[in-house]
């Protein structure tokens, strides 16, 4: 084992500890900044607002879950289409991904909220527009993650299966895809966190989620410090909970001795 491997090994071993230390430092810093507000004359106002913010956090979680699942279902299809040998399917999925990846999410949200309803002449609620925009945005990224996962499986495995007389479809289903899903998991973890954070953009079309509530209170009370920092802490709690639990799953399904871990 050379020096570099030794170092990487050590970092891995102490990773949870390092994470906890960083977290504790962040929390100490935030409490230091918040302390005067949380104990001063505005304290009651801030503490009273907590349930109101947490209601928003619940909505954020609900929106994110739906968008993640919508993106997952569509993402698997798009990812498979991206490795298809059929020119049509490959082309269509490529256009889909490039269009969605190449335009800002906030623009897509406004397109779904205001452009599409006007074109089809049928009103739909801004919440639906937001969910579609967020879910489709995520599906393009998840599609690319699945494509990467599939292509990361060595071609030798496909060739070996085919030379043993296994047809194309079973080879994909039984040999390639199980490994591809495992490869994709770390990147998916990252994408899920992005969806939670991106859900805050829906405040612009009138979805009263966590950030919208915090921002509104900050503006009404002229107390930006407790509300924006409070919102940040709540988001951090959500994303950390998700990423840590997915890291556990990653560890569970990793192949012993095959290195790639969270």
């Amino acid at each position: 084992m050379d020096k570099r491997h030794e170092f990487v090994g050590k970092v891995r071993k102490y990773q949870p500890l390092i994470l906890i230390i960083i977290l504790v430092l962040i929390i100490i810093a935030i409490i230091y900044v918040l302390y005067p507000v949380l104990t001063g004359k505005d304290a009651l106002l801030v503490w009273d607002s907590l349930p109101f913010l947490l209601e928003g956090a619940v909505l954020t979680v609900e929106i994110s879950l739906v968008a993640i699942m919508f993106g997952l279902g569509l993402g698997i299809v798009v990812g498979l289409a991206r490795v298809s040998k059929n020119r049509m399917i490959y082309g269509m999925s490529t256009v889909y991904i490039e269009v969605i990846r190449g335009t800002p999410l906030i623009v897509q949200i406004f397109i779904w909220a205001f452009v599409v309803p006007q074109i089809i002449g049928y009103p739909f609620p801004s919440m639906l527009a937001g969910l579609i925009a967020l879910g489709m945005h995520s599906s393009a990224y998840q599609g690319e993650i699945f494509r990467g996962g599939i292509q990361a499986v060595p071609t030798g495995q496909y060739e070996a299966a085919r030379s043993l007389g296994v047809p194309h479809l079973p080879t994909m289903l039984y040999v390639i895809l199980p490994q591809a899903f495992r490869n994709a998991l770390p990147a998916l973890n990252n994408e899920f966190i992005i969806v939670i954070k991106d859900s805050s953009l829906l405040y612009a079309i009138g979805v009263f989620e966590l950030f919208a509530r915090g921002s509104n209170l900050a503006g009404v009370t002229f107390l930006p410090i407790p509300f924006y920092l409070g919102v940040a802490i709540i988001y951090l709690t959500l994303t950390l909970t998700l990423s840590r639990s997915l890291a556990l799953i990653e560890k569970k399904i990793q192949i012993p001795g095959l290195g790639v871990s969270a």
């Binding site: 106002l45 009273d48 607002s49 109101f52 909505l59 609900e62 929106i63 879950l65 739906v66 968008a67 699942m69 919508f70 997952l72 279902g73 569509l74 698997i76 299809v77 406004f110 909220a113 205001f114 309803p117 006007q118 049928y122 009103p123 739909f124 609620p125 801004s126 919440m127 639906l128 527009a129 969910l131 879910g135 479809l169 079973p170 289903l173 039984y174 895809l177 612009a204 079309i205 009138g206 979805v207 009263f208 919208a212 509530r213 921002s215 509104n216 209170l217 900050a218 503006g219 009404v220 009370t221 002229f222 930006p224």
Partner: protein, 262 residues
């Protein structure tokens, strides 16, 4: 081919779960079914405009003069009122595509807006005010704005239109446009802006609840506020006008005026 069934099943299950989740979120969100429903009246507003509409710090509910008028209209229509809080510059689009039934947001009747939506009879008149920090002595009249200062407005409001159209304010002064007045006021309080142009009534409300701000002077724009509905929605427009006439004749308008403006 059980694996294929599993894959298809997975995609279908995830998409169905997303669909059910989306449905549950949408029906419980304000304006969930979109406008034009038989049981509910969906109001679009921008809750940063006290005393017309703002979030009550204690109850965390949107309240104000406009909201009380909306309640009267909903009562007259025998529908339940749902409030969607969004950016001011999205309100006209929202009523045009029908995701809200009507807009009451301290909106001035202008010819440009009247081309996009139908306005009710005017229900309020007002001017614009220039709000500055209390320690500011350099801004007392219109000409004082003709310097290298930063003036905050809310996008597409009459303050924005007025400031943008007035040649003597440019090119020296810089106009900064915000999606919400609350953000502009926060920025002014912090020192990032030198003045904010806002309607006189909310200007009074902001300056009385925040002693760090004061009204420098008033701009006599003599605007008329109207309630906006989708173009051609004559049934709702008549209902709105009838309610306004009833409020005035029954003395309820004066009651509401006293409640919110004294």
């Amino acid at each position: 081919m059980s694996r294929l069934a599993m894959l298809v099943g997975l995609v279908a299950a995830v998409l169905i779960a997303a669909g059910v989740g989306a449905y549950l979120i949408i029906i419980q969100s304000p304006g969930g079914g979109g406008g034009g429903s038989a049981e509910k009246l969906v109001l679009g507003t921008c809750a940063d405009f006290p005393p017309f509409e703002s979030v009550n710090i204690t109850t965390k509910k949107i309240e104000g003069f406009d909201i009380d008028i909306a309640k009267e209209i909903a009562a007259k229509a025998n529908k339940t009122l749902q409030i969607v809080d969004m950016q001011f510059d999205g309100l006209i689009s929202a009523v045009k595509v029908g995701s809200v039934d009507l807009v009451i947001a301290g909106m001035t009747i202008t010819p440009a807006r009247a081309q996009q939506v139908d306005f009710s009879d005017p229900y309020f008149g007002g001017n614009q005010s220039v709000v500055v920090r209390s320690d500011q002595t350099g801004i007392t009249k219109w000409d004082d704005l003709n310097r290298s200062i930063k003036i905050g407005v809310q996008t597409d409001t009459t303050g924005d239109i007025w400031a943008s159209n007035h040649s003597n304010i440019q090119p020296l002064a810089q106009i900064v446009r915000y999606p919400k007045f609350t953000t502009a006021m926060l920025e002014l309080d912090k020192g990032g802006l030198d003045a904010v142009i806002i309607d006189s009534a909310p200007a009074k409300s902001y300056t009385s609840s925040h002693p760090s701000l004061k009204i420098a002077f008033e701009i006599p724009t003599k605007e008329k506020f109207g309630i906006a509905v989708k173009k051609g929605d004559s049934g709702l427009l008549k209902l709105v006008d009838d309610t306004l006439a009833y409020l005035r004749s029954s003395g309820k308008y004066d009651e509401l005026f006293k409640k919110w403006f004294s």
